[in-house]
Subunit: 138 residues, 2 copies
DNA sequence: GGCATTATGTTATGACATTACAAGTTTGAG
DNA sequence: CTCAAACTTGTAATGTCATAACATAATGCC
């Protein structure tokens, strides 16, 4: 099998496909358990089924984990993650998440790491606050 | 009462003092439950006693929460948090945490927020990897 | 004292994540 | 084809992190 959709390195399994679909339809980050609840009628029953799918999706760069929320989102830019450092702005009012990157920031952190001899494996950067719409509504 | 130690705005309560002391003695971030375990002999019994103390310590800037670990550390620079943005480098091998700040990074994020109309409340920035000692040992 | 405010103690519960084991699928060597 | 290795899935139980709800005690102001 395996026809068109070359998502990344390989095709998705059924569970991975279901989980990613749920994340893509959502307007806000979802916890693993709320993903599970939305997929009960598809036959999923245990948290591990979701966590296993999420692990692979994170590896492939198709989803991200928001550490400050213990929640997950589908990647907003599946095709351009060259930067290597992604930042998230999370609206605490409406839940919307914006994904962006900044080469200057990446460079400054790389410089710091080089000076300190620190070998970076992964960086998380999360800005919490209110998006334009919610900020002006308040 | 209340003599010398003007930690911040006010003196610490007994529980706050115990929790902060535990964090300061630790060489790595501690979870709330491991703080609790270390304070059983001081009379603490329930998670909430620790979480309440931590909440106040975070407010006062005497401790920080590491979102990517669900753990807490004592602040390394209690007297100079003017920058408003603190980054943490966490060694996944030895657990050591370095706390630093970078005005250029802060400025870039402020600029992004200004462009987007995003009102920032709080920013977390955590670099995971290996410190110099552990990286060269490996 | 009387009353508001703040800190504490205790139990129960909720939310997030993993361990351990069993069973089914796929794939490819022989 | 047959068998076994490698991988994926299913399930139950457990572990870890955090808060809700309620009761009690100390503190400070009038
Ligand atoms: Zn992305
Ligand atoms: Zn919003
Ligand atoms: Zn600090
Ligand atoms: Zn180290």
């Amino acid at each position: 099998m395996s026809s068109a959709r070359a998502t990344s390195a390989r095709d998705l399994t059924r569970n991975q496909h279901l989980v990613l679909g749920t994340l893509e339809k959502a307007e806000s980050p979802l916890s693993a358990y709320s993903i599970l609840d939305q997929l009960r009628e598809e036959g999923l029953r245990a948290p591990l089924q979701v966590y296993r799918a999420l692990d692979k999706l994170l590896e492939m760069g198709l989803a991200h984990r928001l550490e400050s929320l213990n929640a997950f989102v589908a990647c907003a830019h599946p095709h351009c993650h060259k930067s290597g450092l992604i930042a998230f702005a999370i609206c605490e009012s409406c839940g919307q998440v914006s994904e962006f990157s900044d080469d200057v920031v990446r460079q400054r952190l790389d410089d710091w790491a080089a000076r300190e001899g620190f070998v970076t494996k992964r960086t998380t950067m999360e800005i919490r606050g209110a998006c334009r719409a919610c900020a002006s509504a308040a």
